[in-house]
């Protein structure tokens, strides 16, 4: 009996220990650091320093704007790709693999790939110049064109991270029993009606998971922005890095990290409420 009762906990113990060590402990440390001043006393000094910093407002604005632009784009695109893949037309397997390539690339590498395209002596300018569309290189990644800079980051992020959403959705699609769709056919539902009334509702759990993961990751966006824009477009995770690595102030860096964590947690709670999944939809 005793063994029966304790066995599950025993089996869970290694995972819990692991999570405590690599997640819970650093989180507690970061929170402690953020409320500590370099002198060692506790208070809101680090947060005050963070809020008055010249990059703070821009970082908050840009992080929200990027998330608001990138996440819906990625989810829409991923649903489209997933549906296309699910048609099982010839060539879809290859298409799926090609779409999944960015999954295997680190985000900094992805940023550098796009940098090599957009920089002044990059591929885009070279090609445009070669076919005679431009006389001289156009500096796309310039602080003088913030909209272009932003667009390049959105493009790179969509390219890089749509795949993870797609993989979740493809898996979700394949869980939908064929019977439902066949029943819909019997009742004479068209493609659009089937998508709206059958597929999307049944896909809700997957969409929820994908949205949560992508939004959390979007709040941590950093390397792509750094590679493409330097600090012209400040973002929260980037500021955390700069305060730690450049200014050697772990306290303000932690304050930024705590802000990111609070935002992620709030939005995750929001998603869980908004996209509440009923028992019968659990797949």
């Amino acid at each position: 009996m005793l063994q029966q009762r304790w066995l599950p906990y025993l089996l869970l113990a290694p995972a819990i220990l692991f999570l405590m060590l690599v997640l819970a402990l650093p989180i507690v440390q970061a929170v402690l650091l953020s409320f500590q001043s370099p002198g060692g006393s506790f208070g809101l000094e680090s947060f005050r320093r963070m809020v008055i910093d010249i990059h703070f407002q821009g970082a908050v604005r840009n992080t929200f704007l990027l998330t608001a632009l990138v996440v819906p784009l990625q989810v829409t695109l991923a649903i489209a790709i997933a549906l296309l893949v699910n048609t099982r037309l010839p060539g879809t397997a290859t298409f799926l693999y090609v779409c999944a390539i960015p999954l295997g690339i680190s985000d900094l590498a992805a940023g550098l790939v796009w940098l090599s395209i957009f920089s002044e002596r990059g591929y885009l300018n070279t090609i445009l110049h070669a076919i005679g569309l431009i006389d001289r290189p156009v500096p796309y990644l310039s602080y003088e064109h913030p909209a272009w800079l932003f667009a390049s980051v959105v493009l790179a992020e969509v390219w890089r991270a749509t795949a993870i959403v797609m993989v979740i959705l493809v898996a979700g699609l394949q869980l939908i029993p064929r019977d439902y769709l066949e029943t819909a056919d019997v009742f004479g539902a068209g493609g659009w009606t089937k998508l709206r009334m059958v597929i999307l509702p049944l896909l809700k759990p997957s969409i929820q998971a994908a949205l949560i993961i992508r939004t959390i990751l979007a709040f941590q966006v950093f390397a792509v922005v750094l590679a493409l824009t330097g600090r012209i477009i400040p973002v929260l995770a980037g500021e955390s890095y700069f305060w730690y690595a450049l200014y050697r102030n772990a306290h303000v860096a932690s304050a930024y990290a705590v802000v990111i964590m609070a935002l992620s947690a709030t939005l995750t709670g929001f998603y869980l409420r908004l996209l509440r999944v009923r028992e019968e939809q659990m797949g």
Binding site: H55, S119, E120, R121
Partner: protein, 435 residues
């Protein structure tokens, strides 16, 4: 008493060495703690290339121990307090020495310096000798230097403004030069490393400010400073806008996105090594108050009570030989602190750079700026005070006077909190304060 004794031994040792009497006694091991040359490749180079000849020659083995600046200072002070000194030789930047001297950690190296100077085979740059004396003692022996200057693609030379000498440019001539190039090529060919990990902050506080206001800190919001920022706005019309992404200028120099680039010597040399015939290196420009430039000096010192002080003195003698200094320049791109070395350089990329470094160091009206000292753990907040002003004025377009007032408060708070002194070219003041 102990100090006198040690000094005597030092002198004897050096005399013995000078007379060519090589010791064949038991091998001693010198522990060499250093904040310099601590990237892995450089440290490996020190162990494999720099030190073995000495080890063969003098029968000393040297254990090279790279360390970060904070831990370096902490360790030396802690060893001294515990009276368990294990480090024989300590090498770091000028800015780390005041606290070591104030903590009574360092041996007075006056005798060693006199002996090295008496050898007549090496003349230390006088400015460095002056700086290396602090608190009444010879705190360190000048070891290596680095600086920041302009690398110029030879393609830019035809556009040099009439009457301008490329080796003695003014900031206004640099701006005119950029304008000429832009007029001819429709491209902006000046470049600065103003990306996140670039060293553009050094240009603001150590080059522009001393050149235009005569100080780094005190005249931060003076009328001259306002004029300086107005000039920077005019200059920026001809600066490649990608400068805000550049971190190491050798990259845009090699891709020819820019023709004229300002950066640290170590960050220019890869371009010059790749194409030594395409570039020249010239001093940074001068402004109304002279040629402000930063010299980064590294020095070698011996902690009090070091177990192998005599052997450490031998290592210092070896590291300050002109031939060794050239080897360091060729290996890791740090520049000599003794005059003879530059003249002995073979034709090549290092010579291109060394010519520029010497021209800058000996320029008339030179205003050597030293990196801030005494800011302790908050040293990382100094440069951002300047960079944030740059961002607010140049990118966000905020009014200059307003930004300078705000950033002056940031600087004053920082200096008051740490009670740090001004560093040259500012007149002495503690804590340093913006007027």
């Amino acid at each position: 008493m102990r100090r006198e004794w040690l000094r005597g031994v030092l002198i004897l040792w050096i005399l013995a060495l000078g007379a060519g009497v090589a010791s064949s006694g038991p091998r001693v091991t010198v522990n060499f703690l250093s904040t310099q040359l601590n990237p892995i490749q450089e440290a490996e180079w020190v162990r494999r290339e720099l030190l073995p000849p000495l080890e063969q020659e003098a029968g000393i083995s040297v254990r090279f121990l790279p360390e970060e600046s904070g831990a370096f200072v902490d360790r030396l002070i802690a060893e001294q307090r515990a009276r368990r000194v294990t480090i024989d030789l300590a090498g770091t930047l000028h800015g780390d020495f005041p606290i070591l001297v104030a903590s009574g950690v360092l041996e007075d190296l006056t005798a060693l310096q006199n002996n090295l100077s008496a050898r007549k085979d090496r003349i230390f740059i006088p400015e460095f000798l002056r700086l290396s004396r602090m608190g009444g003692i010879q705190a360190y022996i000048p070891w290596m230097q680095a600086t920041y200057l302009l690398a110029v693609n030879k393609k830019a030379l035809p556009y040099l403004p009439a009457g301008a000498n490329v080796n003695a440019l003014t900031y206004e001539q640099l701006r005119q030069w950029g304008e000429n190039i832009t007029a001819a090529t429709k491209e902006r060919k000046l470049g600065f490393p103003a990306g996140p990990r670039g060293l553009f902050g050094r240009f603001l506080h150590g080059y522009l400010y001393p050149s235009f206001t005569g100080t780094q800190v005190q005249n931060f919001r003076s009328p001259e400073a306002v004029e300086m920022w107005r000039f920077l706005k005019r200059l920026w019309l001809y600066v490649n806008p990608s400068s805000l992404r550049y971190e190491f200028m050798h990259e845009p120099l090699l891709s020819e996105e820019v023709w004229i680039a300002w950066d640290h010597t170590a960050r220019l040399i890869p371009a010059i090594r790749a194409r030594p015939n395409d570039f020249i290196v010239v001093p940074s420009p001068r402004g109304p108050k002279g040629l402000g430039f930063i010299t980064v000096i590294a020095g070698l010192s011996i902690p009090k009570g070091a177990p192998n002080a005599e052997a450490a003195a031998t290592v210092i003698e070896y590291l300050t030989r002109p031939q060794t200094q050239i080897k360091v320049l060729q290996g890791v791109a740090f520049f000599p602190t003794v005059r003879e070395a530059s003249g002995m350089l073979p034709v090549g990329p290092e010579r291109v750079l060394a010519t520029g470094v010497t021209a800058q160091a000996t320029a008339r009206g030179g205003k050597t700026a030293l990196l801030p000292i005494g800011l302790g753990a908050r040293v990382g907040e100094f440069v951002p005070a300047y960079l944030d002003a740059f961002r607010a004025i140049m990118i966000q377009g905020q009014p200059i006077e307003q930004v300078l007032d705000r950033q002056a408060r940031v600087l004053n708070d920082l200096y008051r909190a740490t009670n740090a002194p001004c560093t040259p070219p500012d007149p002495p003041q503690q804590p340093c304060q913006v007027k």
